[in-house]
Amino acid sequence: MIPRCSIAIARQDWRILRRDPFPVIVPVALPLLLIPFVKPAFQLGFGAEHIRHTAGAEQAVPAMDVTFAFFLVGNSSIGFFREHAWRTWDRLRASPASNYEIVLGKIAVPLLQAMGQFALLFGLGVLCLGLTVHGSWGSLVAVGAAYSLYLVAMGLAVIAICKTYMQANAITNVGALLIAGLGGALVPHAFLPAWARVLSPAVPSYWTMSGYREAILGYGHPLVNVAVLLTFATACLVFAALRFRLDDTKIAWA
């Protein structure tokens, strides 16, 4: 059962998000705009791999989801940093909410955002962008959920080590491109340089992309991929639990 204080905190974050939804709209709208541009290139990639009857959306939609969802790591951290900026963090800590309830409440909205982004991109992908899911939707959702969990866990790990929002933002921006690139979200994995293909399994995006690919193309059930993503998420949570101190002073913007 979700603790009452966590629900109250998540509801408050939702109110804030409703007042200013722009940070959520952009990571969803931008990939939707980009997908038509990258689809043909990905279709050529499938052709080179001798995979026929694809529109390119089978690679473009998951690639954009993986890349832009990573920016939610920044959204997760900003939920904490703004409490420091508004001087409400100590008020939360002085409330009846325990440390665990505060953290649970703060990650709830980013987790919903990640899942919402996944649902919107894949839903609109099917409806408007020519995406066809040949395999299991259940497997696809499982990979999306595991990646979303990893993202919020990564967000906590980032908050644990960053003193300022600018540090968290820098990690998010660089991490998004690096992880997307190594994972085969910017360029199909088969076309990556050999050294990058060796490094790929070390990043969660590789397991997400390959999991999506298996589910979409119907190559099987990506159980291993989900398990690996959950392992990454657990590692981030353990790291955050060891490093994150709620009484740390965070500097909001610089």
């Binding site: 109250a8 508004w86 963090w89 100590d90 008020r91 002085a94 909410a97």
Partner: protein, 347 residues
């Protein structure tokens, strides 16, 4: 009395939590259990000692004004009482609950308004209040009713649906304090709640604090403004270099430590008077304590002025007050002395 119709009555709180977590009227509480008890509290930041063996008890319905100069340890004391930071040694109990071992349980009985105002600027006043009501577990109906009454008590009804960033400084201060009142906590920790507000808002805040204490809340009220302690009818704890050097009612402290004085203000630098013992000189002011043998002291002071008397601009007789108590105990003037004089005109 603007609170006459909207008085914040301390009645049983309806919450979603278990019955034992409900706040009860004080008659139902165990006797002799202080709302706040601190014993032997020590706290250091690296090699700087912030609190050195602080003992403090506050009973339900009591207001304790915590006064001290900057860096005396007031905010540290409040942070430790609220379990926002741990002491290096000592114990803290809120309504009998050990805050070091059961902080979550203890926090159900307290409300903290930190020194810096903490509100959600993009949300309305209503949403700010609602959030803190939800955090303490108020049901929707109770929360709605209480939100209206608290808003009225704090003169925020007219701005309930306004974004907080659009409020005046005084309104934000009131909201900041109102947010902790929704749960009707047994113990209120108010850290300099009137900083930066105008005289009218300050008077309103003081009246609210008095009313909350009358309804049974214990209040720990940290302030630089000594006059507030007097206006609140509070007992006083003087904190100096991390130690509570005096803890009693204002009248008792004045009786024990207060000194009357005569203060002479000059046009230009005050003269040096080597023949009159006990005269304090500060730029254009001479001050002489007049607690004993006043007539002779004053006479000798004026006699010693000589030709300087032509430069004399103003003479004030200062009655024994909390300011002089503070001066006697800490050896330094309150940082808000001028404001005090301006507000009270007690010369």
């Amino acid at each position: 009395m603007f609170l006459s119709e909207t008085r914040l009555k301390r009645d049983p709180v309806e919450t979603t939590s278990a019955p034992r977590r409900r706040m009860r009227p004080y008659t139902a509480r165990a006797p002799c259990r202080p709302a706040l008890a601190m014993a032997g509290v020590h706290k250091s930041y690296r090699d700087v000692s912030a609190l050195c063996g602080v003992d403090l008890e506050i009973e339900p319905g009591e207001i304790v004004a915590l006064i001290g100069a900057n860096a005396a340890g007031k905010t540290t004391l409040i942070s430790i009482a609220a379990a926002l930071c741990r002491p290096d040694a000592g114990g803290v109990w809120v309504d009998g609950v050990n805050m070091l071992t059961h902080p979550k349980q203890g926090r159900r009985s307290l409300g903290v308004a930190t020194q810096e105002t903490g509100v959600y600027p993009r949300l309305s006043v209503r949403d700010n209040l609602r959030f803190f009501g939800e955090l303490v577990g108020l049901r929707r109906k109770v929360l709605d009713e209480r939100l209206e009454s608290v808003a009225e008590a704090f003169a925020l009804s007219a701005v309930l649906d306004r974004e907080t960033r659009m409020l005046s400084v005084g309104e934000v201060r009131r909201l900041h304090t109102a947010m902790i009142i929704l749960g009707r906590p047994l113990l209120l920790l108010l850290d300099e709640p009137t900083t930066g507000v105008d005289v009218r808002t300050r008077a309103r805040m003081l009246e609210l604090v008095r009313d909350l204490a009358m309804d049974g809340s214990a209040v720990c009220y940290s302030t630089h403004y000594l006059v507030e302690a007097e206006q609140l009818g509070a007992s006083v704890a003087v904190l100096h270099h991390g130690r509570i050097v005096a803890r009693d009612t204002v009248q008792t402290l004045i009786g024990s430590y207060g000194q009357s004085a005569i203060e002479l203000r000059f046009d230009g630098p005050a003269p040096q008077l080597v023949d009159v013992p006990g005269v304090q000189r500060s730029e254009a002011i001479l001050r002489l304590a007049t607690d004993r043998d006043s007539a002779n002291s004053v006479a000798s002071l004026f006699a010693a002025l000589g030709d300087s008397i032509t430069q004399l601009r103003d003479v004030k007789l200062i009655q024994p007050n909390l300011e002089s108590v503070f001066l006697a105990l800490t050896g330094q003037a309150s940082s808000c002395k001028d404001e005090r004089l301006e507000v009270t005109g007690d010369t």
